[in-house]
């Protein structure tokens, strides 16, 4: 595949420490943040409160009601294009020389107690947790990052969509503002993650199929800020993932849905890029819907994804999965459709104590992202950010309640083995 987006560069600035100061800025590998300043900056009319706190790995803190994780990015070539949709200008073309400045080791976590605010019923949104210490620290990758936590409380009477949009906008703004401290500075590392130079045509062509789900307010995925409820399988530029064009607004089952940071880091694209030109040729990226409502819609979408893969000339495909249960049927049908077209396929799926929700004979090559039902030992933190409701203090907690605990986009190292 000849690249049309080889210019997208990710310039990473490692952050070893975050200290609080009166102005947000950066001094070498130290990020200085002013929580009051950032909170004011994140203010939205639809939010009654927006508070900012910094937590570090090792702090005896549990963050509850976590909605999303966002890697601090800013478009150095044009900051107004950062996070297209929520805060930036959307444009299919990323620009002549797009450069993203990214903070390494830092994440913005948004938190909102939707049940406490009266938008959902009991247990409608399961507990969503990040532990900075204790037995569950390693169950979320965000237990290892220094996190700037934006806790939001919707203003009374605001429609749910407006409150959610305000929180997502505030989170993206905060992430952009943190990364803006790097503007004008030289990065520690600079990569071209979607530079796929021409490769030996005898190598097998392989595509990636990234599944997303968009079901309604609080369970949506967004492209440039617009929900993807009507998504049909389509080819997209992998640079869109890195550039923050795909963002998360789905807050159910935190262990298995994709957070914004997972798209930004795009491990599946990175893994393909690592062997592009040696073991395979990258053929393209397909964005496909999951969690579809009917059998016919599932079959049609699976067939459409397979047809696209075939049109790309792919002889192999890597499928990712969004959430569990229902969407696993979408994954399995997609695997079947691909294999029946002669496209060798591998899929990433999580497991449960009872095995897989669905399986087809063609799914002979599966990667386990862990057992979502496995219980993590109870823990009593010194402090909870995000509210005691839904924090499961002192209770054994299933892995699926830890943010990205079994992410099926390929970003983490967990797997499940027999015992």
């Amino acid at each position: 595949m000849s690249s049309t987006h080889a210019d997208l560069a990710i310039a990473t600035f490692a952050i070893d420490e975050i200290v609080e100061g009166t102005q947000t800025g950066r001094d070498g590998t130290t990020l200085i943040v002013s929580p009051p300043q950032l909170a004011v900056g994140a203010g939205e009319p639809a939010l009654a409160e927006a508070t900012v706190e910094v937590v570090r790995p090792g702090d005896r803190v549990r963050i509850s009601n976590v909605c999303d994780a966002v890697v601090p990015d800013v478009r150095a070539d044009d900051p107004s294009r950062t996070f297209p949709g929520p805060v930036g200008t959307a444009d299919d073309h990323l620009g002549a020389e797009p450069v993203i400045h990214r903070l390494g080791g830092v994440c913005v976590l948004t938190s909102c107690d939707w049940e406490g605010a009266g938008y959902v019923g009991p247990d409608e949104l399961p507990a969503s947790i990040v532990d900075m210490a204790g037995p569950g620290r390693d169950r979320s990758p965000f237990g290892d990052t220094t996190n700037v936590v934006l806790r939001c409380v919707p203003a009374p009477g605001v429609p749910v969509g407006e409150a959610d949009a305000a929180m997502r906008r505030a989170g993206a703004t905060l992430a952009r503002d943190l990364a803006s401290a790097t503007l004008g500075h030289t990065p520690d590392d600079r990569t071209l993650p979607v530079a796929f130079p021409d490769a030996d045509p005898s190598l097998p062509a392989v595509c990636a199929i990234v599944q997303v789900a968009s079901e309604g307010p609080l369970v949506d995925t967004f492209l440039d800020g617009a929900h993807l409820r009507d998504l049909r399988p389509r080819a997209i530029d992998p640079a869109w993932l890195y550039a923050g064009r795909i963002t998360n607004g789905a807050y159910d089952w935190p262990g298995v849905r994709n957070v914004t940071a997972a798209y930004q880091e795009a491990a599946v694209i990175g893994a393909l890029a690592a062997v592009h030109g040696t073991s395979l040729r990258f053929a393209g990226l397909i964005l496909a819907p999951g969690y579809l409502d009917t059998a016919s819609a599932k079959r049609a979408s699976a067939e459409a994804s397979a047809a696209l893969a075939a049109a790309m000339g792919a002889s192999g495909a890597v499928c990712t999965t969004f959430s569990s249960g229902n969407s696993h049927t979408d994954t399995m049908l997609t695997v079947r459709a691909l294999e029946r077209r002669g496209v060798a396929t591998v899929a990433m799926v999580c497991e449960t104590n009872g095995g897989l929700t669905d399986h087809v004979d063609e799914a002979d090559c599966l990667i386990s992202t862990g057992n979502e039902d496995e219980l993590v030992d109870p823990w009593i933190p010194d402090r909870v950010i995000g509210g005691e409701a839904g924090a499961r203090i002192g209770l054994a907690t299933p892995t699926v309640n830890y943010l990205s605990g079994c992410t099926q986009l390929g970003n983490d190292v967990w797997t499940a083995v027999p015992a």
Partner: protein, 340 residues
């Protein structure tokens, strides 16, 4: 550390087949192979034993007696066997282990992998695979001892592959060397090269379609749903998602499910249309019409319901087993199962 050891009549020293009807017995200290455990570093405080035939023919009472002793002794770990290739002995070890595990007491067994005790334990025990006879004792005792000591101390033991016990049907989370994406691409490259690998074996519990109902006109048919259909107001508080119960409601005298009388509490789909006509959740109106037309013999007098959304597969499997047992005992010949 307190250790209880289960043996059959032979290894407890009461005799062979002639003593197979021996009643349960409790003995202080190690007996028979228990002394080998002591030599390996695991001191047995109490030995409990039962004749193989006695356990098989009077399982409930034998089990109750054995468990009462275990409850009284409150051990940190229970070991049983090794039962090697003995089917009856292995079965007794497995059943006892299942119940001990439900008490959250760790339990270690040893038997041949094809012993009925492996299935009987239902994944509750750490089972060390053995050969068919006592020649395997020398290898087995140290492995059992190592597991029992660590389990009794509350330590975490490794995976089945690392520790040498039989997979319990559980899947535990571990950190791999590479992220899932890297592993996926590696597996795909291998597959494209003709070498197929997988981290998840195909499920072994695939359900085959049953044979057709021979005579539906004389069959009793039950209605079962996971659509969350309940009487209006959800009087028994069926959870809207990740249900931990199934419920049943009478159909005697009910011709059709009215919108005034029934609703769905299922959190996994837009329930608007279903609530306008709950017969679309549980097709009672259509089933009654088929009975009237003589195409179905009779309808079972209750329908069974749960909300099948976000329900762990293991829980759903248990629901199915429990409902199936009820239906089978009620003489039902066929089921119409409606899903969402």
């Amino acid at each position: 550390m307190r250790v209880v050891h289960y043996l059959n009549q032979f290894f407890a020293g009461f005799g062979a087949e002639e003593a197979a009807g021996h009643e349960p017995v409790r003995l202080e200290g190690p007996q028979g192979p228990g002394r080998a455990f002591a030599a390996a570093g695991l001191h047995v405080d109490v030995t409990i034993a039962c004749g193989d035939d006695r356990f098989a023919l009077d399982e409930a009472a034998s089990l109750a007696t054995l468990l009462a002793w275990i409850d009284e002794d409150a051990p940190d770990v229970v070991i049983a066997g090794p039962s090697f290739g003995s089917g009856r002995y292995g079965y007794a070890c497995g059943v006892l282990a299942r119940e001990v595990a439900r008490r959250r007491i760790p339990v270690v067994l040893a038997m041949t992998p094809d012993s009925p005790g492996v299935l009987a334990a239902e994944g509750g025990a750490y089972i060390v695979p053995t050969g068919a006879n006592v020649a395997a004792m020398r290898h087995t005792v140290p492995v059992m001892t190592g597991l029992a000591l660590r389990l009794a101390a509350g330590e975490t033991v490794g995976t089945a592959g690392d520790e040498g016990y039989l997979p319990r049907g559980l899947r535990v989370n571990v950190r791999a060397d590479d992220d899932a994406a890297t592993r996926a691409v590696g597996a795909l490259v291998a597959k494209l090269g003709g070498r197929v690998t997988t981290e998840i074996a195909p499920p072994a519990d695939r359900v085959s379609p049953p044979p057709p109902v021979p005579d539906l006109a004389h069959a009793t048919v039950a209605l079962v749903t996971e659509a969350g259909c309940v009487p209006q107001g959800n009087p028994d508080r069926l959870p809207t998602r990740h249900a931990n119960v199934w419920l049943r409601y009478p159909l005697d005298g009910v011709a059709s499910l009215s919108a005034d009388g029934y609703e769905t509490v299922h959190a996994g789909f837009d329930t608007t249309d279903a609530n306008l006509d709950p017969n679309r959740l549980v097709p009672l109106d259509a089933a009654r019409a088929l009975v009237d037309a003589g195409r179905i013999g009779t309808l079972h007098e209750e329908f069974f319901t749960t909300s099948g959304v976000d329900t762990p597969v293991a829980v759903a499997a248990r629901f199915g087993q429990e409902i199936a047992a009820e239906i089978r005992n009620a003489g039902v010949d066929a089921v119409i199962l409606t899903g969402t």
